[in-house]
Symmetry: C3
Subunit: 140 residues, 3 copies
C-alpha cells in the first residue's frame, strides 16, 4: 500500500467555480495507483469544493446564481461584518457545500462519472490564493 | 491491508430517498474486514447521497418537502433549462447534499448509529439508472 | 500501514457549534502517524459536522443564525412532528451539512488551514450525548 500527498494552488479571481479535475487526474495517473482512494481537502473556510456537471457552463452560472440568492450579501442581522460584506456569506456557502471529498480510484482512474468535474467554489469577490491538499492511498 | 471496490446499481422511479444500507453492509460483511474505511461515491450530478434517520418514513417525506421548497422548479432566472424544469434544481440539490460519504468500519461493522440509514437521494422526476461506487480499505 | 479508531463523546447543551479540533489533533499526535487520512464520522442524524473559522466567535453566531432562518421551527407542512418542533429542522440541517469529513495528515499533522476548526454542529435544543467516530489510516 502506498500514499502520495500533494498541494494544488489555485489563483481565484472572484466568485465562481474553478475546475481542477485535470490536476487531480494527473496525480492519479503519475502515481500509477490502480486501486485506491483520493481525498481532496480545501484549507479555507470561505471557499469550498463541489463535484458538478462539466458539460454545459450554464450549470455553473445557475449554481452561482442560486447560492447568491440563498445567501445574499447585506443580511442585516449578521454580526461578523468586519472582513467585508462578502465574508460571512462566504463562510455560510462553505458550510452548505464541501470542505472535503473522497473519490475512489478504480482500474487506475478516478471513478468520476462521464459528466462529473471537480471544482473549487470561490465565495469571495477579491482574488485569493487557495490551497487544496490531495491525499492518495492505494496499490499499483 | 486490503481493498475491495464494487458498484451498486439502483433503478430510481422519481424523486425521493432510496435506501441502500443493506447493500453496503453486505459488502463489508462479505469482505471480513474488521477495521477499515468505506467510501460511498455517486457518479452523477443530479442525484446525491444522504445519511438520515431510517425509523420514521415521515422524515423522508419532510426532507423531500424541504428541498422541493428550497429549490423549486420554475425559478425564472435559471439559464440551464434545456434538460427539463427538474434538471437544474436537481444539480442544485446535489450541491447542497453529498456526492461522497466516508464511513468507518469498526469490529467488522459499519459505524452507523442505530437510527442511521444510507440513502441515494434522487432529484430527477423520470426513472434513472444510478451507479454508486463503493471502496473499502482495511484489515481482517 | 496502520489504523487507529476512537470515539469522542461530547455532551451538548443546546444548539450551536462545539469545537473538537484538539481531541482530534491529540489522536493524530499520539498515533505518531506521519502521512495518512483521518475520517470523522458522527453517529446521529440531528447533529452534524462542520469545518469552520475558529478565529472570531461571531462566525459561529451567524452560522447558527443563518441555519435557524433557513430551516425555522414551525413550518406548518412538516409531517414528522412527534419528537418536538426542533427535531425535523434538526434532520434537515444535518442533511445540509456533513455527517462525515476526511482530513489528510501530512508531516505528522492534520492538514487543517490556519483558521480552520472542526466542530460538532448540534441542532437539538435539549442536552444530548453525541458520539463521533474517528478513523485514522497511515504510516509512521
Amino acid at each position: 500500500m502506498e500514499q502520495i500527498t500533494d498541494i494544488v494552488r489555485l489563483e481565484t479571481r472572484g466568485q465562481g467555480l474553478y475546475e481542477m479535475t485535470s490536476s487531480v487526474r494527473q496525480l492519479v495517473s503519475r502515481s500509477a495507483i490502480a486501486t485506491g482512494l483520493l481525498t481532496v481537502f480545501v484549507r479555507h473556510t470561505s471557499c469550498s469544493l463541489l463535484i458538478q456537471e462539466n458539460a454545459d457552463p450554464d450549470v455553473q452560472t445557475d449554481l452561482n446564481g442560486f447560492f447568491r440568492r440563498l445567501v445574499p450579501e447585506g443580511m442585516d442581522w449578521l454580526v461578523h461584518t468586519t472582513e467585508g460584506p462578502d465574508d460571512m456569506p462566504a463562510h455560510i456557502k462553505s458550510a452548505l457545500t464541501q470542505t472535503s471529498i473522497g473519490i475512489p480510484v478504480v482500474e487506475g482512474r478516478l471513478a468520476l462519472g462521464t459528466w462529473q468535474g471537480l471544482y473549487l467554489f470561490e465565495h469571495r469577490r477579491r482574488p485569493h490564493q487557495r490551497d487544496v491538499v490531495l491525499h492518495l492511498i492505494g496499490e499499483k
